[in-house]
Amino acid sequence: MSKLVGTPGQTVGPFFHYGMPFLGGPQIAEPHSPGAIVLTGRVLDGEGQPIPDAMVEIWQRDADGSIPRARSVLRRENQMFSNPVHRESHGFTGFGRAATDDHGVYRFWTVNPGAGDDGSAPFFAAIVFARGLLNKLHTRIYLPENADALGADPLLSVLTDDERATMVATRDERGWLHHDIRLQGDGETVFLAFN
């Protein structure tokens, strides 16, 4: 039980684009490198309209199931402020940040997260921020394979089929993952609070 009360969140607002995104933020894996896949989708509002000023972050296990400890080094070329901040990392950081584009689309290059030692169903931990959204929203994006692990997952197994569908990505013939996040309304994504 926490002794201190947490600081409240506030909306990310409309102007985060020069403060939060950095070059390489959406690339957790080198695009088109062996094993690299795209995870992409739209962030949608209560009328099904794309949200062009949202930001999605993902945090995941490496392909072998390990917890990433490689660090993101954020720097500017030649320490010149006129150069944008970019990420240099030595190894797999497991963390990505992507602002949505004009069509509400986020897009990461990453690898499929592996399962933990207990064989639990692999997923991307995800957080959504947006103008108009007063606090962060946590969710998960599960890989569609391995029906047994998905069926045994403590969270998924208590959801209705419709709810469950909002947390499991679909995979195309290239092996890329597609997953829309709906903040409200039909097919509203299941969001999480943690015990």
């Binding site: 002794k3 102007f15 999480l192």
Partner: protein
């Protein structure tokens, strides 16, 4: 869509507050985080979930957070006043504080990011078209890594209040956006730090979306004259508490370089 007046928005804010106070009196719990469904902030109407979040035990990955070390961000990035050839306009200030977990322990080696308007209340962003001047010597974005005591420190310019189109004559209280990572991904927050005594507080639906006054006060920095430097800058202190489940706390491994 017709924009509401400030009087109409204020009436909605007061109604929500009265409802909250009645709930408290009836034994409802304190609300220490913003409401997501808060119509006085008009953009939230179609952007808030209608269902309660599912309560879940965090999985291992959610009990860890991305790794950083103290050298992963240049110390220059924490000074927003040196990013251009000249001095920015406005009131130079330092803001510093500790990032703590719910047990009061420092959150070490974690990334803190800020962004803000300039002294005139203008963001260097195409979407901000209000007719206050851009400052060629101020961008308004910074970052740093917390030290072994969980402390962050930025040198910047006090941001101005700025108008927005939530309703007629809507003005945001001056604020600095903060983004923080805790020891676990569950603890991640993005928030806004405000300045003490701002007359716009009662009028602002974003600040007022936090129903409880004590919780709102947690977003307001304290002026600290001991942090003020003669002939140079004013000092503000603001501590941040990141709650949310985390793995069993252990002594830090030291700077793994």
């Amino acid at each position: 869509m017709t924009l509401a007046s400030q009087a109409e928005i204020s009436k909605e804010i007061e109604a929500a507050q009265a409802e909250y106070q009645a709930g408290l009196a009836a034994g409802q719990p304190e609300q220490t985080q913003p409401r997501l469904d808060y119509a006085p902030y008009r953009s939230s109407v179609l952007r808030h979930p209608t269902k309660n979040p599912k309560l879940v035990d965090p999985e291992t990955i959610e009990l860890w957070s991305p790794a950083y070390g103290e050298r992963d961000v240049s110390p220059l990035e924490a000074d927003l006043t040196i990013q251009h050839s000249g001095e920015p306009q406005g009131e130079r200030m330092v803001v510093t504080g500790r990032v703590l977990d719910g047990d009061g322990r420092p959150v070490r080696n974690q990334l803190v990011e800020i962004w803000q308007a300039n002294a005139g209340g203008r963001y260097i962003h195409q979407r901000d078209q209000h007719p206050a001047p851009l400052d060629p010597n101020f961008t308004g974005a910074g970052r740093c890594i917390t030290n072994d005591n969980g402390e962050y420190r930025f040198t910047t310019i006090k941001p101005g209040a700025y108008p927005w189109r939530n309703h007629i004559n809507a003005w945001r209280p001056a604020h600095i956006h903060f983004s923080l990572f805790g020891n676990a991904f569950t603890q991640r927050i993005v928030t806004q730090m405000y300045f003490p005594g701002d007359p716009l507080f009662p009028l602002d639906p974003i600040y007022q979306s936090i129903a409880d006054q004590k919780a709102r006060d947690r977003l307001v920095a304290t002026y600290d004259h001991d942090l003020t430097t003669p002939e140079w800058s004013l000092g503000y202190r603001w501590d941040i508490v990141l709650t949310g489940p985390q793995r069993t706390w252990t002594e830090p491994e030291g700077d793994e370089l």
